[in-house]
Symmetry: C2
Subunit: 404 residues, 2 copies
């Protein structure tokens, strides 16, 4: 049965020393005990005790004398790293036409990458579950694994959902609303499953695998079919009062503006979403000239004034939406992710410049803007990151009451 990993509120905030040490090791990749002590401000004595427990539990391991920052003399430091073999993890990204699965070890190293097609559109929950099981089993087979060897599976999908409860309010992959999809899946799979919004998974991937030094506060904006957002505060995904997180795509950028999929007017998505762009381009030109964004983008490159105007406005609206997020959140970094960004009209210097111009200035740096034109595989890796984090937390909590 999928194990519920809902923590009590105070536990969530109060990160145990064990977890801190483990996180420090993962963040560094390889790190000696003395450096863990320095980074976490936990005493060397305690670090020794904790790492001994974690090694005994098989979660981390020593690696041959640390080459990196070797001191001239003295006892050489012994680096520690996550033990990749500790667990096998699966991450999945549900997109419009495919399920992409990535099986990784506990360090996040890729073991298997696999993709199966989806009929497209919104599926029946049972049908989707079967597809997910198929995707998982085929991936396992490809890696010579049994399904039961997978310690955890995380699934990322577009839509509004409460990750703590694995509850999907709405998703573009499902034809029903308000479904306890976690329990549903549990009838098909007996391993722990975690479901989350895909933008949050990008955030998780950045937290776990990103180069970020101390980027505790950042915002992820995804642009695919729609526009999504993930917010990280204090190294934790922020999920509002109802647990379903931020709806950046439906922030309003124009009073009584363009009609959105959601039925409201003036949503950002109604200006920058691909369907919105095609709608406008085709309505204004009168004929169905553009079947996809590539076509529209090519027209703009070819000097088509209509196309240019449409894309430019999208860029300005996007800049305005981002500026609002910065004015409200003041993040250290904004990460733009998604395949649509490859077209560049939302991530151009012009857009970034316009965003910066619209942010109230104080002394201090404006947020860095980074762009990732992620393919499906990287989204699946984000999902794997989520599962790794959840399973880590579970196992680390089990490492208690060990005799020294």
């Amino acid at each position: 049965m999928a194990k519920s990993v809902k923590l009590s509120h105070s536990d969530e905030l109060r990160e145990s020393s064990r977890q801190q040490v483990f996180d420090a090791i993962r963040e560094a990749g390889q790190i000696a005990r003395i450096d863990i002590a320095q980074v976490t401000r936990i005493s060397p004595a305690t670090v020794t005790a904790i790492t001994a427990d974690l090694i005994a539990a098989g979660l981390i391991e020593e690696v041959s004398p640390d080459i990196s920052r070797g001191a001239k003399r003295g006892r050489p430091r012994v680096a520690l790293k996550i033990r990749g073999d500790a667990h096998t993890i699966a991450g999945m990204k549900l997109s419009h036409h495919a399920i992409t699965t990535l099986i990784t070890d506990f360090e996040g190293a890729e073991l298997v990458c696999h993709e199966i097609p989806l009929p497209g559109g919104q599926l029946d929950p049972d049908a989707l579950c079967e597809k997910i099981v198929t995707a998982l089993d085929e991936s396992c087979a490809q890696g010579g694994l049994e399904r039961q060897q997978i310690s955890g599976l995380a699934i990322g999908m577009a839509g509004v959902m409460d990750a703590d409860r694995n509850f999907v309010y709405w998703s573009s992959s499902l034809n029903v609303r308000n479904i306890d999809f976690g329990s549903y899946l549990a009838r098909y799979l007996s391993i722990p499953v975690f479901i989350d919004n895909d933008a949050n998974l990008v955030a998780k991937a950045e937290l776990l695998f990103g180069e970020g030094d101390k980027r505790s506060n950042f915002v992820v904006v995804t642009v695919e079919h729609g526009v999504g957002m993930g917010i990280v505060i204090d190294n934790q995904i922020y999920r509002g009062a109802r647990g379903c997180g931020a709806e950046f795509g439906h922030t309003k950028v124009q009073l009584e503006g363009a009609l959105c999929q959601c039925g409201q007017r003036g949503c950002l998505e109604a200006y920058v979403g691909d369907y919105a762009l095609l709608r406008e381009a085709n309505v204004t030109s009168g004929v169905e000239r553009h079947k996809d964004l590539a076509s529209l983008y090519a027209a703009r490159e070819a000097g088509d004034i209509m196309a240019q105007s449409t894309l430019d406005r999208a860029g300005r609206m996007f800049a305005m939406g981002l500026a609002n997020v910065v004015n409200i959140f003041d993040p250290q970094m904004i990460l733009l992710a998604g395949a649509q960004l490859a077209f560049g009209y939302l991530s151009s210097d012009k857009v970034v410049h316009e965003m910066r111009r619209s942010v109230l200035q104080v002394d201090g740096p404006l947020p860095e803007v980074r762009v990732h034109g992620w393919g499906n595989k990287m989204w699946a890796k984000g999902a794997a990151a989520h599962a790794i984090e959840e399973i880590s937390a579970l196992r680390i909590r089990e490492v208690s009451g060990h005799a020294v």
Copy 2:
């Protein structure tokens, strides 16, 4: 010297049991040990130990047998409460034309309320410091107190500032930018001083004195001369990457819209701020008809179409801005505070309804909207709340290493 109370990051999150117990007592007003144990999920044994320490330190006291929830029989519960005499606290609100000072005891009960006029406009830092000292000394005199008896002073002012460093980036009360006003004041006062944005102080007041049950996530929007915002996440004030918090008034609600004080276009404040309303009303009517909001509001009541249109648009823009905050933050509650709200055009049912209409719907309640038409005195009380919290945290941290 004003003592810096900057905590390390992990300490900030990791609330000690002592602090939890203390907070539970303050939240309840009066509460028996057994109930503290229940509320905090700390064992009765530990609650006994901790409350003994707090009593020894003089921070709390027992009150005669609890009348409230008396059980039929058994040993009667003994309620505990904050010891009002433990500390004397001062809170100040700097507004355009006055400094309002409130001296309270440690429970927040008013001892002295006092106001001195300000010349208005932006002052020289030295001049403002002198005014603050005057305000404090006169208030002390009025209450028969010595300045040194004040354990802490919190000052709320409009503008952008970093409360952790007592650093003011910009304030409508000061004629210089980027000033370490805390150190400045320390030359005039030798008691601990805390400076914060006034919207955050409203949030603190709500946290400390509000009826809120478990409102861990809420947003305060203040409307006075400008528009301010305070964000509370997990019972803590959220201060972005640069420590200066949210700039709701400068979120953009219109591409290339009305010109704002800040030099940018389309800011919310440029549509709902009092100066913006008067500007528009007077420009459109051609003559200087309205000298203040009261006049404009009266005109609208009298059926003036211009006035009505101006105020209506302000309301719609405000609703749009609020909706954006809800879409991004998903707070449990929105608290509208400020004298301007008395005019009602920003807090009408129509505005609230429009805001709700603009929020993406999921199953689950939309945020409650509450309105406080606070006068200066209540702002000062918010400041006092801030000082009480800071001083509490300081003293509680001192209560360590007591023998049982």
